[in-house]
Symmetry: C4
Subunit: 248 residues, 4 copies
């Protein structure tokens, strides 16, 4: 007798290893520290997704990858713990069929843009996906005083609604979520969001209230195209670093 | 004939190794440099505490851990030197039975909040323990011009009084102290204080005098709950790094 | 039948290895990340230049170095991909016979100076080559909304015209290009541009609108002289780091 | 026939190794990059000093240490090149018998304080030696437009006069010099100057024009006392790092 949902079927060891590597890449690039998580939709079963058990991203191995249904119930827990905030992932996969990978992080450079009335903009072409606007989710608007965590389905739904058709949203006094059609693009976007935040801090200070010639909407759309290729070039570098250290 | 106070009894080698590792963790995380110290209350004798001899935190080994009474007298000096500022530790343990671990550091990002009239606030959920307010101890108020060090019992008492019921206090033109009910929580809080300081510098600059939507008091209390678990997840990562390098 | 342009002739393996090492040096110094490129004019054929295939700079080996004519056509592709923005390099080599090496990068600290109305100045003697002024290329002035990339000859010509007689130009919402008479000087200048940008961010903030005693024009010319020697001293250090890791 | 000045006599290999290690320590701590130098007065001959040949500090070995008289002439060149700015060292040793070690660097965080009208102050006890005031040497005042280098005796004299009775001075659009009675104290002070600069950048930004409760003069004198011990504790850590990598 097992109340766990059925698995969406076996996944190739390469995909599992890449997802485990993504956790370590995000840690190595300073996007996550001991916290944060990355998931990927099941390649053959769109109603399932893959994510590590609850642990520090820098330690994840392929053996730590679990499978969840979109209600965020583990298919194969085997006593392994789940992230409290897995509801972010499931609700985004439900709401957005075009998204196949989700990164949640607390990058120190990004958090400020969720705390003040300054919008994150795309400071350069590699961060073009930000040009369309970056929503900020304030959990207190709907849920009052909380522990700030997106730790149940209702909060996950509210977060996904706030993100809407964008591929990123910030969370007030908490962190951010970056998404993409593939694992490689989501990882690239999470890394570039962190870099863009640092560039924007410098730029805002330098501008002293003057104009900032960020990407406009049209440039944002055009510049996002070549970033699919850029994501793969970055992935080649970052993935190799993990392989050199782990042999998987 | 030995005037040293009696020991509180033997302590397991795991606890000693963890305390030595905590020094190295704080150095690896940029909380301490060649200076600063971390202590832990004796697990069986609340009137005793454990701390390394006077040395750089990154070099501490289990053999460097000494035992002190709450008057900050070494039980087992054997010629080993003591930190000039051990009085911070003993006086906090006297005043606050709920605190079992204390970290003192001079993190560059934190010092500014002890020098100007801007209060440190909790910028995100992982730093929730800051939401209750962060006192600043100005040693000159009671002691006039000094070498700035909390280097005797009177100064230790004054510092502990300034900290009051909080688990953190800054020291003007010097550094800060973060505390917790366990070693793991105190280390987590010291690390998150440093991260929060960096986030707040960015946020204050970005806000340009506008509102900062930091955690409010109620959110601070609620968000601090899950941080006990977060502290253990971070510890698992940081402790492993030390073990990989030292084999203890 | 091969439509590829003729090679300018064989190049010594030392020169090829140094150019490959330059990519890794720029990555190690934080000037480039997974993106950016460095080229060198062919030592015997001024109408040809050498540059790696399209890949992350930190991974470049001597086997990845390709040869191009000044119309940016590969002489020896062998199926290897080319950087989309190689047109930056060819058009600079056409316009500027005194330049023999070009670095293109997206250093986060440098990008802000292409977004706001604050000119980059030489903050110290090692960055003296900046004292003559740093033009900013806004691709939208001539080409309207684009993907921001200098990805064809017309855009390359426009960029080279904007740079004019300087050895550096920034690109709005994109990055920068630093040049020199030798590979070593171009690499030194790219590194120093990044350092200077960080110094200038701190200086502008500290000045609070007051005067900044940067190098003036005459000091800039005089101080640039000893930098040829400084470039070689830096190269000795940085090149050794690559050799220690690669054995080439 | 040799016009070189006489040596002050043999120096123990430990002292030579420590001086070579100091170069590497300063590089590891981010005080110097490929440039900058540290010297020590000859232990038995106050009219001589020891310094490496002209090279990147991170590569210095004991075999690179040379001896100079106070007119900055090498006693034992053997074809080895000398730093262009060795005149800083000789003229300080002439003017200040109490100084036995000198560090010259271009730390990016320190340079801004030589470019604007904001004085460096002591932000915390470990940087107490800054509390007495930090002069800024503007080479153009006496020498007009130059290459900014203190590259002859006249410029060295002018710099030493500007520094006066302090143990530190900044150089406009160039760098800084930190001194001490011992090698260990000079290295400590150079490192702490760099840290203090970063703390002060954050503090000035946070203060937004308000009061900064830096060390006052009296606190500066009192706090500098324990820093002699702190310098040795830091040295123990930093020196070990070099020894672990070099076996000297």
């Amino acid at each position: 007798m097992n109340d766990e949902p059925l698995s969406g079927g076996p996944v190739s060891s390469d995909i599992i290893a890449d997802l485990a590597a993504a956790s370590r890449i995000l840690a190595a690039q300073g996007v996550v520290d001991a916290y944060g998580h990355v998931s990927q939709r099941h390649p053959d079963a769109p109603e399932r997704y893959l994510m590590s058990r609850s642990m520090a991203p820098a330690l994840v191995t392929p053996y730590d990858i679990m499978e969840y249904n979109l209600d965020n119930e583990a298919c194969d827990a085997n006593g392994r713990g789940s992230f409290l905030e897995r509801f972010i992932h499931g609700e985004i996969y439900k709401a957005r069929p075009d998204i196949n990978s989700v990164v949640h992080s607390h990058s120190p450079s990004v958090i400020p843009f969720g705390l003040v009335d300054v919008k994150m903009q795309a400071m350069f072409h590699n961060a073009a996906f930000l040009a369309g606007g970056v929503p900020v989710f304030d959990i207190s608007k709907k849920f009052g005083a909380t522990d700030m965590l997106v730790s149940d389905g209702d909060k996950g739904v509210a977060f996904a609604e706030c993100m809407g058709i964008k591929d990123i949203a910030l969370m007030r006094a908490h962190g951010s979520v970056a998404c993409g059609p593939t694992l490689q693009v989501a990882v690239f976007r999470a890394i570039l969001t962190e870099v863009n935040a640092r560039v924007q801090h410098w730029t805002v200070a330098l501008s002293d209230g003057g104009k900032i010639a960020a990407l406009d909407d049209e440039e944002g759309v055009l510049a996002d195209g070549p970033n699919k290729g850029a994501a793969l070039r970055g992935w080649e570098l970052w993935r190799k670093d993990v392989r050199d250290k782990t042999n998987w």
